[in-house]
């Protein structure tokens, strides 16, 4: 998963787009994913996100993340299937006592939720893989008038995800090298087993936060500075932003008109 979060330095049509275009796209995907309930609409939306990932040549980089998301999606499907009792019963999970019925409606709703979650998360992963965080920050401040401190906070969070992941991996390796075993079924033991991983990670993160604060102050952060100027929007970007806004609007209008429910 750690390899999947973060900028992939390469050239592609998607990489060359302005940060604003890609943020509008990700938000558009988000809105559409929330708007529609129909499995077919959500499947199409996910397909479109994957198409953009392919155009950005980051599809293979996202494969590990997709694997992880798929697991969560299956859990969603499972819970919806088990706890929704509308619709026609397809089969029982414990057949000999007819317990935990799985209905067609539950199954469909579960799949829809899985697709929705994957479309949204993957669209943001594509955004992060194709756009440098500093470009997003600059765009947020210069174009969307978001106060610099908040935009900077956002950029720090993104910046430190890969660092945190790398550290998590190292802590995991250090503890496993000392014989830590997290396998087994006893949930209580498992929970306790995470302390050797969680404690060093939290302490490292706290220390990093403190160091970062000092480093920022040392460089005069918080005094307020000059205006931020963003890269100009090219014609292609302006067109795309317009198209994306229209498409998102059309999607929402379609939903209100009763499509894709």
């Amino acid at each position: 998963m750690s390899g999947a979060v973060g900028y992939v330095a390469q050239d592609s049509p998607i990489h060359r787009l302005h940060a604003l275009t890609k943020v509008v796209w990700a938000l558009g995907v988000f809105a559409a994913a929330l708007a529609f309930v129909d499995v077919r609409y959500l499947a199409a939306l996910l397909a479109s996100v994957l198409a953009v990932a392919a155009a950005a040549r980051v599809l293979t980089r996202l494969l590990p993340a997709m694997g992880g998301l798929l697991v969560f999606a299956l859990i969603l499907v499972f819970f919806q299937a088990v706890f929704l009792d509308r619709g026609r019963v397809l089969f029982y999970i414990i057949p000999w006592v007819d317990a935990l019925p799985v209905t067609d409606a539950g199954l469909v709703l579960g799949v829809a939720m899985g697709l929705r979650m994957m479309a949204v998360v993957l669209s943001f992963l594509v955004l992060l893989a194709t756009t440098q965080v500093k470009d997003i920050t600059t765009m947020l401040v210069a174009r969307l008038r978001i106060p610099y401190d908040y935009a900077f906070l956002f950029s720090i969070v993104l910046r430190f995800i890969p660092v945190f992941m790398r550290e998590a991996r190292q802590v995991d390796q250090a503890q496993r090298a000392r014989g830590l075993v997290l396998e087994g079924w006893n949930p209580l033991r498992k929970l306790r087993g995470y302390a050797p991983l969680a404690v060093p990670l939290v302490l490292l993160s706290l220390r990093r936060a403190e160091q970062l604060a000092v480093a920022l102050e040392m460089r005069g952060c918080g005094r307020g500075g000059g205006a931020v100027t963003d890269r100009p929007l090219k014609i292609a970007d302006r067109l795309l932003v317009a198209v994306l806004l229209l498409a998102t609007g059309a999607a929402l209008a379609a939903r209100i008109a009763g499509y894709g429910t």
């Binding site: 190292q170 250090a174 496993r176 000392r178 969680a198 060093p200």
Partner: protein
């Protein structure tokens, strides 16, 4: 001085999930009782190779045998009985509230009897000179002391092979020597030692054998004198022999042998030539 093979690696390849091939056909054997230095520039594959020894990384192809057993068939927690691994940063592992508890974590995972765990903790703490700090919170210690806690926590597992990933990072020169002296004692006590370092002085002083890596391959593997005598191999891996060896190599026209490793050796070679002038 060396016994049966404890680490046998055959044509090992490793690719990181991102696609970068970090190891390209490593073949080497380490025998019991050796003290091996693993050197090379950043990204040469030293840590990647070392992490195969206790199963933290699994080869894409090739075979690894640890103490005669196929490592591919053992879990990390099983390999932890054979190979101890001291990581660079002690803060990646410290999570208990006292030094003694921290050191006990490893041996307890080996499912030893409590009395045995306690005995090993005591011995390990005495060995690294922290016996009086056993009830102190690890974060109340200095970085150098925490490094020794990490070392003790691996020593307490009493593994036949100990891997040290840059054991002297962030230590001053004296502390580095102290740590390496302890490591040499471990070696003398029968542990096979493999240490990763950038410090050629430490290699010259402590290792009996050096493995030079560059771009995922082994460039040179042999006795220190043998390897340091070939400046082009070291240059290819962007390393330089210790200053005193460089000096000896510069003095070759005067008949000084190019494989001098320590100041003491240089003094022995030079004194007869310089006559009896003393100040």
């Amino acid at each position: 001085m060396s016994g049966p093979p404890v680490v046998e690696i055959e044509d090992l390849y490793y690719r990181y999930p991102g696609g970068f091939t970090a190891l390209r056909g490593i073949t080497l054997t380490v025998n019991a009782g050796e003290m091996v230095a693993l050197v090379g520039q950043n990204g040469a594959g030293k840590s990647t190779l070392a992490r195969h020894l206790n199963g933290l990384l699994r080869p894409a192809s090739g075979r690894i045998r640890i103490c005669g057993q196929d490592a591919a068939r053992l879990r990390v927690s099983d390999l932890a009985r054979y190979v101890g691994y001291v990581f660079q940063n002690p803060d990646h592992q410290i999570f208990r509230e006292t030094v003694a508890e921290e050191v006990a974590f490893g041996p307890a995972n080996l499912e030893l009897a409590p009395a045995e765990v306690a005995a090993r903790v005591d011995a390990a703490l005495r060995f690294v000179g922290l016996a009086d700090k056993r009830d102190v919170h690890p974060y109340a210690l200095s970085r150098g002391e925490r490094q020794r806690v990490a070392l003790a926590s691996v020593l307490a597992m009493q593994t036949p092979v100990i891997v040290l990933d840059e054991p002297t990072t962030g230590q001053d020169y004296r502390a580095s020597l102290e740590i390496m002296d302890r490591v040499r004692e471990l070696n003398a006590a029968g542990h096979t030692i493999i240490f990763i370092t950038h410090d050629m002085e430490l290699v010259a002083q402590y290792a009996s054998r050096v493995i030079v890596m560059a771009q995922g391959k082994v460039l040179a593997d042999g006795g220190i004198r043998e390897v340091f005598r070939c400046p082009d191999i070291l240059a290819a891996s962007r390393l330089a022999p210790p200053d005193i060896t460089c000096l000896a190599q510069e003095l070759a026209p005067f008949g000084v042998s190019g494989d001098i490793l320590t100041v003491g050796e240089m003094v022995d070679v030079l004194t007869p030539r310089l006559g009896k002038v003393r100040c």
